[in-house]
Amino acid sequence: MKTKKEQSLYPIWFVLPSLLIFGIFFLWPIISSLYYSLTVWNFETAKFCGLDNYKLFFSEHSMSSSVVHTLIYAFGTSILKVVLAFFIAIFLTSKIRTKGFIRSAVFFPNLVSMMAVGLAFSYMMHPTKGLLNVVIQALGGTAVDFLGNPNTALASIIATDVWKGLSISVVIYIAGIQSIDKTYYEAASIDGATGWQKLKHITLPLVAPSQNSIIILSLIGGLRSFDLIWAMTGGGPGFSTDVLASVIYKQYAAGFYGLSTAGNVVMLILISVIAFPLQHFLNKREEAIQ
């Protein structure tokens, strides 16, 4: 037991600045959003309208489809990052000599803003002149209108997101792989295990903690994402790449503040029902392995 005197070395008021800023500028707006999402609102007056905003949100295809797009986007980017980054990390922890260079090159996109990446890639994906199509045509293929075709637009943005955000998953994996005790591999080698068996039965289970961080991190990031999509397509063509965050912005720009806030609450609920149980499940899995 700590004595009173020891405890009192640490004044409670030290948490006040953080708590006040966090409470006023983050928590309070979230709490009040629950009310404002039930109103017709223009900042001056808020007229209570029950669940009308939510009904409208889910009955209008332009808005309800954003929930589906958000899920595709979040799961698409996370799964790609979790899988691709694992193999890149395995490659970069092997004995190759150029790993320093490769790691830096893979990492740098992380420091470039979403806006810059989004703009540059949207020009590289230009339907006729873009670099990607020039390459495709040189190889004998037909040009793809990556961002102008509703069927490929979302996938194109997902690919760009993975390009930009992959490295963070890679470095987390590398840290996890490097912390694995080398004697496991030596013991397995003596028992005659192949490289693939070592990968499957030693590396994969033991990087679970790193993997869990990557899953949670990229999933939450994906569910919230806005700037890359906004830079590349603005939600279009039509509504084919509209996600929750872009609907929130569009309804705000159109002056439907209550509706926009309802979209915000939908995002809050979506993230909560996915992220909290998932984290619980992943923690359980991690404990089971250990």
Binding site: S32, F91, K95, F108, L111, L119, Y123, K129, S213, T261
Partner: protein, 276 residues
Amino acid sequence: MKKQKRLLLLGDILGVIITCILFLVPFYFMLVQSLKSKAEANKLSISWPSELHFENYIEVFKHGNYQLVTAFKNSGLLTLFTVLGLLVTAAMSAYVIQRRRDKLMSGIQALIMLGLMIPAAILPTIHLLQSLHIYKTMFSMVMIEIALQTPFAIMLYRGYMASIPRELEEAARIDGCNRWQIFTKVIFPLLKPIQATLIILVGVQTFNDFTNPLYFLPGSENTTVQLTLYNYQGQLASSFNLLFADIIIITVPMLILFIIFNKKIVDGMVAGSVKG
């Protein structure tokens, strides 16, 4: 053995080639685009410019009545104040949360850590700022950036704080330091390594932020660097060379930071994403 060596060499060569194609070509594309003439840039090819147009950079600075200068000033101030504010407030709370470990502190910690997951409510925040008469001010923008990054900063600090022995505080108390002095003179200076990480991560995050200034700091006199890119996209739709010059200009500070602090940034990102 020989076979393995050859395999490694093959891995080296393939790895470098694939990395160059996937990760360096896009940056090369941005660079050459920014140095071309208007007509040449509109072809969107990756060929080297037939003539180098360094004046594109001057022109993009002059565009819109030196908007980019204003933007750099605003982004610089926003980043500076956010980093400074967060360094101090998060260190204070992480210190007490990590040391006391009682029910109250666990509760406060759980509350703040919610911020790592749940998204901010945007319009109610604008409404709040309006009723406090601080909407569209640098002060409110700084407060919001601090609020949004507080959970991450506290998490990072708390993990590091655990490695600082309590005996130091006890010794300082016996030497006659009061509680405030113990924190400012003994603990705070010991946090330097994690602070370096935080400065870089929070700095990059704030400087590159697009969404929050879009909502909370509108107006041309308030513009930030990421918003110039958004505005120029419409205004300079036919002058790709200037648009890309802007991309290069706002990316170069990050490149310099990356070259100097490469290892620190990578380690910090790992530390920040693996729970402390």
